[in-house]
């Protein structure tokens, strides 16, 4: 069950886009999702986009969608219980369930769902190395970009190893695998991590040697500029997608303002997100400088 990340190496419109334009689209989409009055449309839009333009049907990431449902339920429940009056009335009996809470909860839940699905759109249609190398071309330090892509590439293998480890635990009559008790389940997770981690550590030493022998440090040692073999550049369609994204966002903003539903709270969200983005960019810059130097 590879629902957290799965790159499907296919050819579709979305697959052919540069990772940067896809990221841009997702960013605009996420910001817009705070302003759309009917957020339950959002997940459907994303699913339709992935299906139509990406050739990936929802059945392929069904486990992920199912994973989202309890999360969405929990969020709605929290708002239902904690938001203020007016309370719901059922047949004249007042329940301690907030009426606006139901609405707020659902709105937030669907926003979350659309964010998650948008992430899937990205991860299933983007070769992690295209992603990494696109960032390298945009200035990120090579080794950081490479390690990032490399980690994503190894994720499915770790998942496979985890299955074997769980079977091995069962072979030792270990009870916690598949337990319904969350505490025991967590124990099972903890004990699986050790062989997974140590195995990964051991293999990473072999990998590091293989990389060194094939010239991972050659460019620095010999003062040569690395080539990027893959053809990553922003093409017409990428600019088109980015333009449409901006247009979509502006349209949503205009709509919200004209309908008077541009709430003050959204402004503070935007400021918060903006600050977050700046912070992340600064941190990434610092890390890449540290590695370069």
């Amino acid at each position: 069950m590879k629902f957290l990340y799965q790159f499907s190496a296919r050819d579709s419109f979305i697959h052919r886009l540069d990772p940067r334009s896809k990221l841009f689209f997702i960013l605009c989409f996420l910001v817009a999702s705070f302003l759309i009055p009917y957020p339950w449309i959002m997940p459907l839009i994303v699913i339709a986009l992935i299906w139509g333009l990406g050739g990936i049907s929802p059945r392929e990431y069904l486990p992920f969608l199912l994973f989202l449902l309890p999360l969405m339920f929990a969020i709605t429940l929290i708002h239902l219980l904690t938001d203020g009056p007016p309370y719901l009335q059922v047949q004249g009996v007042g329940l301690p369930l907030s009426a606006p809470g139901l609405e707020n909860g659902l709105v937030v839940a669907f926003r979350l769902a659309s964010m998650g699905i948008a992430f899937i759109l990205f991860s299933m249609t983007t070769d992690p190395f295209d992603w990494g190398m696109a960032m390298y071309q945009s200035g990120l330090n090579y080794k950081v970009a490479f390690m990032f892509a490399f980690a994503l590439r190894f994720f499915p293998l770790l998942q496979e190893e985890l299955v074997i480890i769980r079977n091995a635990l069962t072979a030792r009559a270990y009870h916690a695998i598949g337990s319904k008790n969350p505490f025991t389940f967590l124990q099972g997770v903890a004990i699986s991590i050790m062989p997974l981690g140590l195995g990964a550590l051991r293999r990473s030493q072999d990998i590091a040697l293989a990389m060194e022998l094939r010239g991972f440090n050659y460019a620095e040692a010999m003062g040569v500029q690395r080539t990027v073999f893959r053809d990553i550049r922003l093409r017409r369609w990428d600019w088109a997608v980015m333009a449409v994204s901006v247009g979509f966002l502006l349209g949503v903003v205009a709509l919200a303002i004209s309908r008077g539903t541009f709430p003050a709270i959204a402004t503070s969200w935007l400021i918060f997100l903006g600050l977050l983005a700046v912070l992340l960019a600064v941190v990434a810059w610092f890390i890449s400088r540290a590695i370069k130097g």
């Binding site: 392929e60 190893e161 074997i164 480890i165 079977n167 091995a168 635990l169 069962t170 072979a171 030792r172 009559a173 270990y174 009870h175 695998i177 004990i191 050790m194 062989p195 140590l198 195995g199 051991r202």
Partner: protein, 279 residues
């Protein structure tokens, strides 16, 4: 070696197994076989032949899509882990996936602790298992400090200590040098001799099959291609070739020269050759 008329301890009837989506591969397509208690069986086949899937079904990790696997009279896939571990032991190919504790001693004790055995029994049995596998002196070391060969032994010890009736070992000799590979096979043979443990070894080293196994089951495309003693199976060179399996060199030589009785080892081949050349 035990007599041919021994009680079957493993019964496989109409076994089919299809992996769930997205893989959806039909790994096993109708397997029927029985393994007698105390047999030493080699399970052989190319990657993709279904041998690993069969082994996993025998150990109960995979539930058959159709058909039934019973070990010691019980439907093995329906047993809870604690009961299952006492009937079938499974040693995986990579020891690194099977090491969970901070010391060799704890690792071997782990299974018995899960079965909630009394402390004095645990101490006794762990010592016995460690001594048998020559790991007693290393009992305080962290498993990852051991060499690959020792880690493999540790993985075997940790399963042995549970005294399973059937022991399935997945490629015990991959990545080992020939001498260490033979030591492991000697160990399994001794186990079979001394405790009557039924051994199922997944392997692709035909020389070891010839030397240690009284029976070999060859899988091909999810079905049993041939099943019998190596002395009979290794004669069928062409049939084996369809599954890219090659008998050991002395067997192939014997077939080309028409040597009888059909040899499985160097000593037998020498005797057969010399018998054709009286002085």
């Amino acid at each position: 070696m035990r007599s041919a008329a021994s009680v079957p301890i493993v019964r496989v009837e109409g076994l089919e197994f299809v992996y769930p989506p997205p893989r959806e591969i039909r790994a096993l397509n109708g397997v029927n076989l029985q393994i007698g208690a105390g047999e030493v069986v080699a399970l052989v086949g190319q990657n993709g032949s279904g041998k690993t899937s069969l082994a996993r079904c025998l150990s109960g990790y995979l539930r058959p899509t159709r058909g039934r696997v019973s070990v010691a009279g019980q439907d093995i896939s329906r047993l809870p882990p604690s009961r299952r571990a006492r009937v079938v032991g499974y040693v995986f190919q990579n020891p690194d996936h099977q090491l969970f504790r901070e010391s060799v001693w704890d690792e071997v004790a782990f299974g018995l602790q899960n079965l909630r055995r009394p402390w004095d029994q645990i101490e006794r049995e762990v010592e016995a298992a460690l001594r048998r596998l020559e790991l007693w002196d290393k009992r305080d070391l962290h498993p990852f400090q051991l060499s690959k060969g020792d880690r493999q032994r540790l993985a075997i010890a940790a399963i042995l200590v549970l005294s399973p009736q059937v022991l399935i070992v997945d490629e015990p000799t991959t990545g080992q040098d020939p001498r260490k590979a033979r030591e492991i096979m000697d160990l399994l043979a001794a186990l079979n001799r001394d405790q009557g443990t039924t051994i199922v070894a997944i392997t692709h080293v035909m020389e070891l099959v010839a030397e240690y196994c009284e029976r070999m089951i060859v899988l091909h495309q999810g079905q049993v291609l041939v099943d019998g003693p190596p002395r009979a199976v290794f004669r069928q060179v062409d049939l084996l070739a369809t599954s890219a399996i090659s008998p050991p060199p002395v067997c192939r030589l014997a077939l080309r020269l028409g040597l009888e009785p059909f040899p499985l080892t160097v000593a037998e081949a020498r005797d057969a050759l010399l018998a054709r050349m009286p002085r």
